[in-house]
C-alpha cells in the first residue's frame, strides 16, 4: 500500500497563494494581539492560581459569590472534568515583592471560600509568581525562541545553502506566528508549557523541512538539467507520503496527550496539534517556495548545494 504513489502535484505553482493565505492568518493574529494584547498566563504576567478540589459538587455562582470578598479581578473556571469538582481561581499580578503579600491572594481565596461555607475542599495546587520572575521568564522565553531559530539557521546554512536556511527559518517563524494566532483565537494564555510546545514546534517544523531540502540536495546532483523549481517540486512530491504519514502519526500521539493528558498538559498538547498542522503545511508550501524565490537569480541546479553533501 502506498498513498500518493508517483505523486506529482505542482505545489510550487501555488506558492504565492500559499504565502498570501499564511500572511492573512498571521496578520489577523497580529492584529488581535496588537489590539487585545498577548494573553499572558501567570508564568509571565505574575499572579496567583489556586486550584480547589471540593468533596461535593458546588455551584459556580456560589463559588463566585464567596470570592467577592477577595479584591481584584478574578477568573473562576472549572478545572478538568466536571465530575472532579475541581475549580481554578486566578488572581492578577501581585504588586509588591514583600514575602507576606506574595501569598496574600492565595490565603484570601482559601479564607473566603472557607468562610462562605461552600463545601469541604482542599487546595490541590497553588502557584504564585511574583513580577520579577514573570519578567525574567518573559525575557528568557523570547531569548530561547530566537536563539533556537538562529542556531538552526546557522546549522542549515552550513549544511545546505543560505537561501535554504532562510526558507527553513521563514517556515519556522511562520509556524510560531500561526500557532500564536490560533492560540489567541481559542483564548489560551501563554504559559511556560505553551512556550515549551512552541519551541518543540520549531524543532519539528525544521525537521520536516530538512527532509525535503535533503531530497532537493540529492536531486540537484542527479537532475542537473532541470530548473530549481522543477527539482524542488519533484522533491516535495517524492517525500509527500513521508511528510503526511509522519504528521499523521505524530498528530495521533499528541491527540492522545490532548485527550488523556489532563488539564495541566492540555494547552501544551493543543499547541502541538496546531503546530503539527502548520508545520506540515509550511514544509510543503512555504519553506521550498521561499528558498526558490531567494535563489531566484542563481543558475539552477548548480552543484553548489551538493558541495557539502558528501
Amino acid at each position: 500500500m502506498r498513498i500518493f504513489e508517483n505523486a506529482n502535484y505542482n505545489f510550487i505553482q501555488w506558492r504565492w497563494h500559499a504565502i498570501a493565505f499564511s500572511a492573512l492568518i498571521i496578520v489577523a493574529g497580529l492584529v488581535s494581539i496588537a489590539t487585545r494584547g498577548l494573553p499572558l498566563g501567570i508564568d509571565f504576567s505574575g499572579g496567583t492560581i489556586v486550584v480547589l478540589k471540593f468533596q461535593q459538587p458546588v455551584r459556580e455562582d456560589a463559588l463566585r459569590t464567596a470570592l467577592d470578598a477577595v479584591p481584584g479581578e478574578k477568573v473562576v473556571q472549572q478545572y478538568g472534568e466536571s465530575a472532579a469538582n475541581e475549580w481554578l481561581v486566578r488572581l492578577p499580578e501581585v504588586t509588591t515583592e514583600a514575602g507576606a503579600s506574595l501569598e496574600q491572594g492565595a490565603r484570601a481565596v482559601v479564607d473566603a471560600v472557607t468562610k462562605a461555607n461552600v463545601g469541604q475542599f482542599e487546595v490541590i495546587s497553588q502557584e504564585i509568581v511574583g513580577p520579577v520572575i514573570g519578567a525574567d521568564l518573559q525575557r528568557k522565553g523570547i531569548y530561547a525562541t530566537l536563539a533556537s531559530i538562529v542556531g538552526i539557521t546557522i546549522y542549515i546554512g552550513i549544511r545546505f545553502r543560505f537561501a535554504f536556511a532562510i526558507g527553513a527559518i521563514a517556515a519556522t517563524l511562520h509556524d510560531v506566528l500561526v500557532t500564536l494566532a490560533v492560540l489567541t483565537f481559542f483564548g489560551y494564555d501563554l504559559s511556560l508549557n505553551i512556550v515549551a510546545a512552541i519551541l518543540t514546534i520549531t524543532g519539528y517544523s525544521v525537521n520536516d523541512t530538512i527532509v525535503i531540502f535533503d531530497r532537493v540536495r540529492e536531486n540537484l546532483r542527479s537532475k542537473r538539467r532541470d530548473s530549481l523549481e522543477a527539482v524542488v517540486n519533484t522533491s516535495v512530491n517524492q517525500t509527500l507520503s513521508r511528510t503526511l504519514i509522519t504528521a499523521g502519526t505524530t498528530f495521533m500521539a499528541v491527540l492522545a496527550l490532548y485527550v488523556f493528558g489532563g488539564e495541566v498538559l492540555e494547552g501544551f498538547a493543543f499547541t502541538m496539534l496546531v503546530g503539527i498542522i502548520s508545520g506540515t503545511y509550511s514544509t510543503v508550501f512555504i519553506a521550498a517556495a521561499i528558498a526558490i524565490i531567494l535563489s531566484g537569480k542563481q543558475a539552477p541546479g548548480r552543484p553548489q548545494a551538493a558541495r557539502k553533501a558528501s
Binding site: V123, V129, G130, T200, T249, V254, M272, A309
Partner: protein, 520 residues
C-alpha cells in the same frame, strides 16, 4: 546467521538488558519531579542590601568609637545609604589624627572630601560584589541546614538564574507555610544590655534621653510580659545598648524546653568563646536587665541574678511547634540577610498522582495508536518499527534513571514526542526502501540503499531538533527542563534504534531466506 549479525544482536540485547537493569523497578529508580510527586517549589531573593547596610553601620560604629578614643569628639559619623557614610565636623588641626584612624576603613571604602572637615566614604565596588556573593552563599548554606533538619527527602537548594536568587524544592512537603516560615525566619539572636525601659511607646523612650537618643543606644520594640502582669498585651519599648554582648553566632545549640510555668520555651547554650564573653558580661552586670532580642524584637528581658556562662532561655508565648521551629532555626544559624519569596508553586500529592495516571494513559494510548497504524500500513515491516520504538523507550527510561534525570509531566510529553520521532525515522527509511524497490533492485540492496541514503537526513533532522532542545533546557525551570532532558535523550537513543536496531532487524529477517519480496 552471519557472525556479524550475531554480534549486532548481542549489542542490542546488551543495551536493552542494561537499560532495564537501570530503571527496574521504576517506582524506585525513576526520579519524579515535583509536579508528579507533589511538593513545593520556591524561589527566594536574598536581600543582599541588608548585609551591606550591616557592614556600613558596623564600620561607621567602629569609626565613631575610634574617633572618640582619639579625642575627636566634634566629629559626627552618619550612614547615608547601604554602602556609604559621611563624617562631618573634623577640626582642621586634627585632620592628621583623623586620617590615621582610617587605615582599616579605607581597606573597604573610598574616601572623598566634601570641603573642610567633611568627608564621604563609599564602599569599593569589588567589596560590594564580594559581599553580595558571600551573603547569598551564606544564606544558601543556612537554608540547606534548615531544610536538612526538616527531614525532607531529596531536597534541592541551589543558586537560581539571577545572582541573588535561591531555588528551593521540597518534594513531598505538605505543610508549605511552616516550611516557608522556617526557611525565611532570619533567626538573628542578640543578647543586649537594657539601659532603660520598658516604655509604653517609642516617643517616651526617646524622651528619657531628652529627645535625642545617643548613638550607642538603640530603641527596640518588645513584647509586654503578659503572664506576669496579668494585663492585656501592649507594645513596649526598651532602650538597649547598640552593640550586643553576644549574638547567635556564638551559639552551640538550641533545644525546645518548658519554662517554669510549663510553657514551651527555647533553651540555648554557647560555645567556649561565647561562654567567655557571656560570663564576663553577666558577671559585670549583675542586677541589671538583659534583653533577649530575636530578629529585632525583645522577647524577654530578665534581671541578671548571677554570673551565667553557658545557658540561656527564650521564653514567650510560643506553641510547642513554634518553639521547636525556633530552636531549629537558631541551631542552623542566622541568615545574613532577609529573604523574600519571588515564586511559589505547590502541587498536592493527589494532583501529582492524577497527573502520573493521565501521563501514563496518554503515553500508552499514543503508543498503541501509532503502533496500530504502523502495522496496518507497513505490515510486517511495521513490527520492525514497533520493536525499534519500544527499544528506544526502554533505553530512554534506562538512561534517565542512570543519569538521575527527573521525570516531569512535560517529560511524559517528551516521551510521546520521542515516539513521534521514532516513527518519523522509520517512516523515512521505509518510504525510501519502497522507492528503491520500485526501481527494481533486489530486496537486500533496496534495504541497504534505503538506510544509507536516509542516514544523512536522519542526522540533519536530529541535530536540528537537538539545537532547539538545548535552548529549551537553557530556558526552562524544573518541569520544562524535564521535557528538554527527555527529548534530548530520546533523540540520541533514536539515532541508535532507528539506524542500527531497525537495520539489524531487517537483516535478521532477510538472512534466513533468499528474499524476493518484502512485506512493507
Amino acid at each position: 546467521m552471519g557472525k556479524n549479525l550475531r554480534w549486532k544482536l548481542l549489542v542490542i540485547l546488551g543495551v536493552v538488558a542494561l537499560s532495564v537493569f537501570a530503571f527496574y523497578p521504576p517506582d524506585q529508580k525513576v526520579r519524579l519531579g515535583l509536579d508528579l510527586k507533589g511538593g513545593v517549589h520556591l524561589v527566594l531573593r536574598v536581600q543582599t542590601d541588608d548585609a551591606l547596610r550591616l557592614l556600613t553601620d558596623g564600620t561607621a560604629e567602629q569609626l565613631r568609637e575610634q574617633l572618640r578614643t582619639a579625642g575627636l569628639t566634634g566629629a559626627t559619623v552618619a550612614p547615608t545609604s547601604t554602602t556609604a557614610f559621611t563624617v562631618t565636623g573634623v577640626p582642621p588641626e586634627q585632620d592628621a589624627v583623623f586620617r590615621s584612624a582610617l587605615t582599616t576603613v579605607e581597606l573597604s571604602y573610598d574616601r572623598s572630601s566634601n570641603g573642610p572637615g567633611s568627608y564621604s566614604f563609599q564602599m569599593k565596588p569589588n567589596i560590594i560584589v564580594d559581599n553580595r556573593e558571600s551573603t547569598v552563599n551564606q544564606a544558601l548554606q543556612t537554608i540547606e541546614r534548615r531544610v536538612n533538619e526538616l527531614g525532607v527527602a531529596e531536597p534541592i537548594v541551589a543558586r537560581h538564574s539571577a545572582a541573588d536568587q535561591i531555588l528551593v524544592q521540597l518534594p513531598g512537603v505538605t505543610d508549605v507555610n511552616r516550611a516557608k516560615e522556617i526557611i525565611r525566619s532570619t533567626a538573628l539572636l542578640e543578647l543586649r544590655l537594657v539601659e532603660q525601659g520598658p516604655f509604653p511607646d517609642e516617643a517616651s523612650a526617646a524622651q528619657a534621653y531628652g529627645g535625642s537618643v545617643p548613638p550607642d543606644i538603640q530603641i527596640m520594640p518588645g513584647r509586654a510580659e503578659v503572664a506576669a502582669a496579668g494585663q492585656p498585651a501592649g507594645a513596649v519599648y526598651y532602650a538597649l545598648r547598640r552593640v550586643p554582648a553576644v549574638t547567635g553566632r556564638d551559639l552551640r545549640g538550641a533545644t525546645p524546653q518548658m519554662d517554669e510555668y510549663n510553657r514551651p520555651a527555647v533553651g540555648f547554650n554557647f560555645n567556649t568563646e561565647g561562654a567567655q564573653k557571656f560570663g564576663a558580661f553577666t558577671g559585670a552586670n549583675i542586677g541589671r536587665q538583659l534583653a533577649v532580642v530575636l530578629d529585632g524584637r525583645v522577647q524577654t528581658a530578665p534581671r541578671i541574678e548571677s554570673r551565667i556562662d553557658y545557658d540561656g532561655r527564650i521564653t514567650g508565648t510560643f506553641t510547642a511547634q513554634e518553639a521547636a521551629d525556633l530552636a531549629l532555626t537558631l541551631r542552623s544559624g542566622a541568615l545574613p540577610a532577609s529573604l523574600t519569596y519571588l515564586e511559589e508553586r505547590t502541587v498536592g500529592p493527589s494532583l501529582g498522582a492524577a497527573s502520573v495516571r493521565a501521563g501514563v494513559m496518554a503515553a500508552t494510548g499514543g503508543l498503541l495508536l501509532v503502533m496500530l497504524f504502523m502495522v496496518a500500513y507497513y505490515k510486517l515491516s511495521g513490527f520492525n518499527a514497533l520493536i525499534s520504538i519500544t527499544i528506544n523507550l526502554i533505553i530512554l527510561l534506562g538512561l534517565m534513571a542512570y543519569l538521575g534525570a527527573t521525570m516531569t509531566l512535560p517529560g511524559i510529553a517528551g516521551f510521546i514526542l520521542t515516539i513521534g520521532m521514532g516513527v518519523d525515522s522509520n517512516v523515512l527509511i521505509f518510504e525510501r526502501i519502497k522507492e528503491e524497490l520500485a526501481t527494481a533492485k533486489g530486496v537486500k540492496q533496496a534495504v541497504a540503499a534505503g538506510f544509507d541514503r536516509v542516514f544523512l537526513t536522519i542526522l540533519d533532522t536530529h541535530v536540528a531538533s537537538l539545537i532547539s532542545a538545548a535552548f529549551l533546557f537553557q530556558f526552562g525551570t524544573g518541569p520544562i527542563r524535564g521535557f528538554a532532558t527527555t527529548l534530548t535523550i530520546g533523540l540520541l537513543s533514536n539515532v541508535f534504534t532507528a539506524v542500527f536496531v531497525s537495520r539489524t532487524m531487517f537483516e535478521l529477517a532477510l538472512s534466513r531466506r533468499q528474499a524476493t519480496k518484502l512485506s512493507i
